[in-house]
């Protein structure tokens, strides 16, 4: 609990300091309302799908190699 609190504090401090350092337009709203996680979950789904596909392919080829 204390650890997560410390990490959150450090991270928010980092973001705040960065925000002060430069006022370039960033997707701060998207981050603050949590919509960024919608993007992350979509990415994670596609990634998991591709990895599953590769692993299955790998297994199939291993079976083929043993047969031939």
């Amino acid at each position: 609990m204390r650890k997560t609190a410390a990490v959150t504090l450090l991270l928010s401090l980092f973001i705040v300091l960065n925000a002060r350092a430069n006022d370039a337009d960033m997707a701060d709203v998207m981050r603050s309302n949590g919509k960024i996680y919608v993007v992350v979950i979509v990415l994670a789904t596609i990634f998991a799908g591709i990895i599953t596909f590769l692993v299955r392919l790998e297994r199939k080829i291993t079976r083929l190699e043993k047969k031939s």
């Binding site: 430069n22 080829i61 031939s68």
Partner: protein, 250 residues
């Protein structure tokens, strides 16, 4: 001569022994999962013009690094093929290079998409864009050259020689010439492309796992292509395969 052949045997032996193992594939998935998700969530420097698109660095640059590594491996196997004359080495050289070509296409497309929104045009005749376009054409010709020949031995020999020349041209086209002139790419006129962000630790911790993960992913895909073609080669050329295998054991 003896030293060279034992070196190539060491490399081949290492790749043969590791190709079917899982540990580096697990490492690949771990690195990529961290780089894909962390690349979206972890803090990045606030820069004008680039804004949030700076995150493309985590996805665009690894494509080129992976391409480079696959081309290097393909180049090594082309040399090995010319020394041994075994069609197995030709399969390695071809599949590694072909996977590299796929990654170069990804790198080019992602680069053009990124350029459209930051440089204003998808194609602005940037020296690095021109250099990579030329090297891509050279490697496309490799595919055409291979598919234009029916005789396996002849195809393997000619395409191995061609691949060595293609790689020799890749170095000046990608690594030397673009750095001698001003470029829209970061670090123009001298520095390596991603070094300018190296001082920013928040980017480095994502960028390097992304490199490792994507390189391993490239080799994983290539290894699957290689093994598929090895099975086919084994079935179609049973006799030839046995000769090569016996001479390898001897």
């Amino acid at each position: 001569m003896a030293g060279d052949s034992s070196m190539s045997k060491g490399l081949q032996g290492f790749i043969d022994s590791q190709m079917r193992l899982w540990w580096w594939k697990v490492l690949c998935v771990a690195c990529l999962a961290f780089a894909t998700i962390g690349g979206m969530l972890l803090p990045v420097p606030r820069l004008n013009i680039l804004n949030e698109t700076i995150r493309n660095l985590y996805y665009h640059v690894p494509m080129w690094i992976t391409m480079m590594m696959l081309y290097m491996a393909g180049f090594a196997y082309s040399i090995i093929y010319l020394r041994t004359g075994k069609l197995k080495d030709d399969i390695f050289a071809y599949q590694l290079t072909a996977t590299g070509i796929a990654f170069s296409v990804f790198g080019m497309i992602t680069g053009m998409e990124w350029a459209k929104y930051t440089w204003g045009e998808a194609w602005s005749n940037d020296p690095k864009q021109l250099g990579t376009a030329l090297s891509m054409l050279i490697y496309f010709a490799y595919l055409v050259l291979r598919n234009g020949m029916k005789d396996e031995e002849k195809r393997a020999k000619i395409s191995a020689v061609y691949n060595i020349f293609a790689f020799a041209l890749l170095i000046p086209l990608i690594w030397i010439l673009p750095r001698m002139v001003d470029s829209l790419h970061p670090g123009n006129g001298g520095n390596p492309a991603f070094k300018s962000y190296d001082r920013d630790f928040s980017m480095t911790i994502v960028l390097y796992p992304a490199f490792i993960g994507w390189i391993l992913m490239g080799f994983w895909i290539a290894s699957i292509c290689i093994r598929t073609n090895m099975v086919r080669y084994k079935q179609e050329n049973r006799y030839q395969y046995d000769i090569e295998k016996n001479s390898a054991n001897a």
